[in-house]
Amino acid sequence: MNDWIAAEWLDKDARLRASIMVPMQNPDLAAAEIEHRAGDSRFVQVLVLAGLDTLLGRRVNWPVLRAAAAHRLPIAIHAGSAYRHPPSASGWPSFLLEDYVSNTQLFAAQLASLVSEGVFSKFPELTVVLAESGFTWLPAFAWKFNKTWRGVRTEVPWVTKPPFDVIRDHVKLTLQPADAPADPQALRDVIEQIGSDEMLLFASDFPHWQFEGDNVLPDGLSDAQLHKILVDNPLATYSRLKEVVV
């Protein structure tokens, strides 16, 4: 897969960059694939599905996280699941719509796992990108996460500051799908609640059916915010882009 991407896509258009696909069912082999590809700077991140065999923060997965951090490769967690576990704690929903909507619970569970297990204390240079995650769910999740942490933080002594602050330091989210109402003020409110202008990255999802067509940018963002989302934040997230982009 990674060979094919390099030969059929990266070699043919110099603007494209790729993700290193890894077999998360075997963390040692996944880490070896990262080591094998890391020399090719056209691979700018490691890609995993949101739904894996185990939650990503669990220590069995640390060889992968360690290899990614060592090569300054962000880990991108993309919507979707290998369905080792059902999409809800009550089993398998009837509709594709239901599965798709429920992806936010999966992303939240991954963030809870990464933070609680102390991944960002162990690998302080690691960045995690949530791809096709939506982002309006983040503040509500992080507020509750902060509150529980205040109550039970002795359980995770390596989490030394509020989880939302850890997330702001280490996590990026792609813009699409912007699950926001027509009223642009609601989107502005959510972005203020996220409390950082460095977390959102532009994405189109082309050519999937969630692709927004010509309407790739939601209403309600200022020019300065757009510049961060479209240019500055991706360049800061993917240090390997700077090697060729002037």
Binding site: G51, L52, D53, T54, L55, L56, S81, R84, H85, P86, P87, S88, A89, S90, G91, W92, P93, S94, F95, L96, L97, E98, Y100, V101, S102, T104, Q105, L106, A108, A109, Q110, A112, S113, S116, E117, G134, T136, W137, A140, F141, W143, K144, F145, K147, T148, W149, G151, V152, R153, E155, V156, P177, D179, P181, A186, V190, Q193, G195, W209, Q210
Partner: protein
């Protein structure tokens, strides 16, 4: 610790009337419960024990922690929440509780794999609530516990109890064998609607055996506590998308202990993707958020606390001030104190709505 267990000095009653929609009564011991079971099931309980979808009966799924307030241990001994007299002075009187809604989660029939035994456990639980709690404290109200995996038995139990107005809702596990919107559970919703009883779903629930997150089992209680929201979000989407509220327009759904800050973003997400994929759910005549706005209420505890308190006001503006029902979760550790939990300015009218009037309206309490 001993100082915490001293008898509490009398406090001035808070002027605010409180309806507490989530109070947990606890058994002192199994021996207290056995007389409520028929002889056949008493013998079964003692011989075969519970048969549930986890390794050790009588335990909570890992990860868990000590879940009670230390100061809620009754003066006469026994577990927190096991003594109605202590609860009366320590909680109901102290916090000005006008009505307290019991969530008698244990012993749970909803997790039992032997369905007939599950139905017997629920029925015994309902008798126990009346005899040990509601008969002794008139401010308390019960929830009819039913096992959702045997809908016919659940309907019989609802119809048998509905005449007793001290039961104000029906309760089953939000962690069912299948997503709760599916039609196998509809006879229960028909019975709720017919009897004018709201359906109250208290997280995290017992029963399904599936991992508490869609990515597998978490390691820490810190993570597990977040799953309360994921579990209830799954139920929320299922009930709406399967068309439960189209079919049962009189059904009221109360989501207990699942939080509420996630409601706006999940509504936006449901509406947005429904627009694109509505061909898959042609039984929905309106955007998902419209059913949600009319049919679903949320208890407040454990309340998400925005970093900027004023964001709480915006959230409730969006969800609806008529949708929130105050709850404490007494005697659990993450109890929300009615005197301090809202750190934003609220109008007296909004305060009355959330602390008592909304619940009185949903549950038809005087």
């Amino acid at each position: 610790m001993s100082t915490l267990l001293e008898p509490l000095p009398p406090l001035p009653k808070t002027r605010l009337s409180v309806v507490d929609c989530d109070i947990h009564p606890t058994l002192t011991s199994e021996a207290e419960f056995l007389p409520y079971l028929p002889a056949r099931w008493r013998e079964h309980m003692q011989t075969y024990r519970r048969h549930v979808r986890q390794g050790l009966h009588g335990t909570l799924t890992h990860p868990r922690m000590q879940v009670n307030r230390i100061d809620a241990v009754p003066t006469k001994g026994g577990p927190p929440g096991s003594d109605v007299n202590f609860m009366r002075t320590h909680h109901l009187d102290q916090n000005g509780v006008e009505w307290g809604l019991l969530q008698a989660l244990q012993p749970s029939g909803s997790a039992e794999r032997n369905l007939e035994f599950g139905a017997a456990l629920c029925s015994a639980n309902n008798d126990w609530q009346i005899a040990e709690w509601i008969d002794k404290e008139p401010r308390l109200r019960g929830a009819i516990q039913v096992t959702q995996e045997d809908p016919q038995a659940a309907v019989r139990e609802i119809d048998r109890r509905a005449g007793d107005r001290r039961f104000v809702q029906v309760s089953l596990s939000p962690r069912a064998q299948e997503p709760l919107g599916r039609s196998r559970y509809w006879p229960i919703y028909e019975a709720c609607e017919r009897n004018g009883l709201p359906l109250g779903l208290h997280v995290p629930g017992f029963g399904s055996g599936y991992a508490s997150t869609p990515g597998g089992w978490p390691t820490f209680y810190l993570e597990e506590h977040q799953t309360f929201a994921y579990i209830i979000m799954g139920v929320f989407a299922s009930m709406v998308l399967e068309g439960v509220f189209e079919r049962f327009p009189g059904l009221k759904l109360v989501l207990v202990e699942g939080g509420f800050a996630w409601v706006p973003s999940l509504c936006w997400r449901l509406d947005k993707h429904w627009e694109r994929m509505r061909g898959e759910v042609p039984h929905l005549k309106r955007p998902p958020s419209e059913y949600i706005r009319e049919h679903i209420w949320y208890t407040t505890q454990p309340m998400e606390e925005p970093e900027r308190p004023e964001d709480l006001t915006k959230l409730i503006d969006w969800i609806g001030w008529d949708r929130l029902l105050f709850s404490t979760d007494y005697p659990h550790w993450d109890f929300d104190d009615p005197k301090t939990v809202f750190n934003v300015r609220m109008s007296p009218e909004h305060r009355r709505m959330i602390f008592s009037e909304n619940a009185k309206s949903v549950y038809r309490l005087p």
